[in-house]
Symmetry: C2
Subunit: 316 residues, 2 copies
């Protein structure tokens, strides 16, 4: 007996925490995680999908709890050696993590889709829920700063988010086809809720919504769309969300994120201290602790999200 | 003041030991090492050049003394992880070693030649003498066994030399162009000697000689061609040389190797115990310890080789 499918939209670190919580609160068949691939890039000749990998490692329990990205029990011999040969070393690739990139690159070149590779990796790593890219087509987030347009990982990792963000673009998104299973899940029956994980709205969630068909399918799904605020007390838990909002002329707050999502949302889960500032918004607000430090925190927040969705559904 | 250029033909482990000895006995500008690339292959999407790498690591002093191949202070996290993702793990790639393959593959795809990549890696690793592939074109050693033709690394590593060798072929050799600097060195003035390192004659040296122009250039060089026997007392120091000779219907002995090289050789350096069996051959035989255990052994054998070449030259 299933309560229906929960579809979660997620970027990397923060999103992966809630995705792991959902995977503990739901039977495996009832969760589908859609990963942002706008962060994907080619580096050292390898196809790297940072958000897919962060989600995969988190769901498999092989993630690095200290960094939030990469694998636990990691070694760095490759990195130590590549610089001595003149290779680029600004993007840190651990030795275990590298196996993912090398094997994925080999399979993509051999003609497999990113979905197929991801599904097979997940199966081999013992991951129950489905994890799929938003699209098997190439979408690349680009950042316009005062010096012009740069690639996302150049901005995010090499320049450590220092450039001021004037504009974002998702190259390839307009022509990208949504991953077929993802679209079928959003359009099909048996949906229970759609969850927007506490990821950066602009660089993690927006690329997913920019794939033709996905935003409409979510808006027309008829099930509650629940977002968790990535902002607590005006600050992002991790990453450049707050800085980026200021640079884009938005209010760097939980309310600012909710206004950005607009009509797409039906329920918004935010930190109790931020709840008062959300009173003026026309959506259901649920106040709950959103900082996920422990595994128990992740699962507890997932249950808050599911309960909020179910309550909304019953009220509708 | 230079005594002239020494050109050494080499495969992997055994050859690299003598190449290192020569690099210690000669000024850097007086040594050019030609590496076999018939062992090269594509694996996990990476371009791997085992003999170039063994030579490079040996000359840079970063080789693994326990295995004879790969790098010292190596870690194996990549290998531990690749199998779990369904990747091939029969060819052992250490984490440090992997940096060489990833960066080389990236550069070859960007249009650099194998010679350019190798020269740059050597410069960065602080290697003085020149190390060059026999050709920048693709040559692939293939092995005919009772089950048909197989790729060399399938025979050598995956099946650990178990298949009976009926025939060898060097795919691409007939159309390969000799590396230009190599050909110029063999044809130019200022040559002192040509050294055939104690590598497997059939799978390490023969591919080099199969590149059009190289065998002739060596035969017509006018300088002593000195080979060191890879066989001691009927046994190969390492690898399948003796087994392969028996399977090919040849006498697995120091004399069998000398007969295989035939007129190309002017001097042959062999273990004292093997010298008597070489008395009937029409070439100058020098008896000397050829087992290179220590660094001093490598340098001492290099000096024996150089002295033998110079003595032969004076006698001519």
């Amino acid at each position: 007996m299933s309560d229906g499918l929960v579809v979660a939209l997620s970027g990397g670190v923060g999103g992966a925490k809630l995705a792991l919580g959902l995977s503990r609160a739901l039977p495996a068949r009832d969760l589908l995680v859609i990963a942002n691939t706008g962060d994907d890039f080619e580096h050292l000749g390898l196809s790297i999908s940072p958000d897919i990998d962060t989600l995969m490692y988190a769901l498999a329990g092989v993630d690095n709890p200290a960094t939030g990205w990469g694998r636990r029990d990691e070694t760095w011999s490759f990195m130590d050696s590549i610089a001595a040969l003149g290779g680029a070393d600004w993007f840190r690739l651990g030795d275990r993590d590298l196996a993912t990139h090398v094997e994925r690159t080999r399979r993509l070149r051999a003609g497999e889709t990113l979905s197929q590779v991801t599904a097979d990796f997940c199966r081999r790593l013992g991951i129950g829920p489905r994890l799929l890219p938003m699209s098997d087509d190439r979408v690349r987030t680009r950042v316009q700063s005062d010096g012009g347009w740069i690639d996302f990982q150049d901005y995010f990792v090499r320049q450590q988010c220092r450039p001021v963000v004037r504009k974002l673009a998702f190259d390839g998104a307009a022509a990208a086809r949504p991953q077929p299973e993802v679209l079928a899940a959003l359009r099909g029956g048996g949906l229970r809720a759609i969850v927007i994980c506490p990821s950066n709205p602009f660089i993690s969630i927006e690329p997913i919504l920019a794939v033709p068909g996905l935003r409409d399918a979510i808006a027309q799904s008829g099930v509650p769309v629940v977002a968790v605020s990535p902002i607590i007390g005006g600050r992002a838990v991790k990453g450049p969300t707050a800085k980026m909002m200021q640079e884009l002329g938005l209010e760097a707050s939980a309310a600012g994120v909710a206004r950005h999502y607009g009509d797409l949302l039906s329920v918004y889960v935010a930190e109790p201290d931020d709840a008062a500032s959300l009173a003026g918004l026309r959506l259901k607000v649920v106040a709950a602790p959103t900082l996920m430090t422990s595994l128990a925190d992740r699962e507890a927040l997932a249950r808050v999200v599911l309960d909020a969705a179910d309550a909304r559904r019953r009220a509708a």
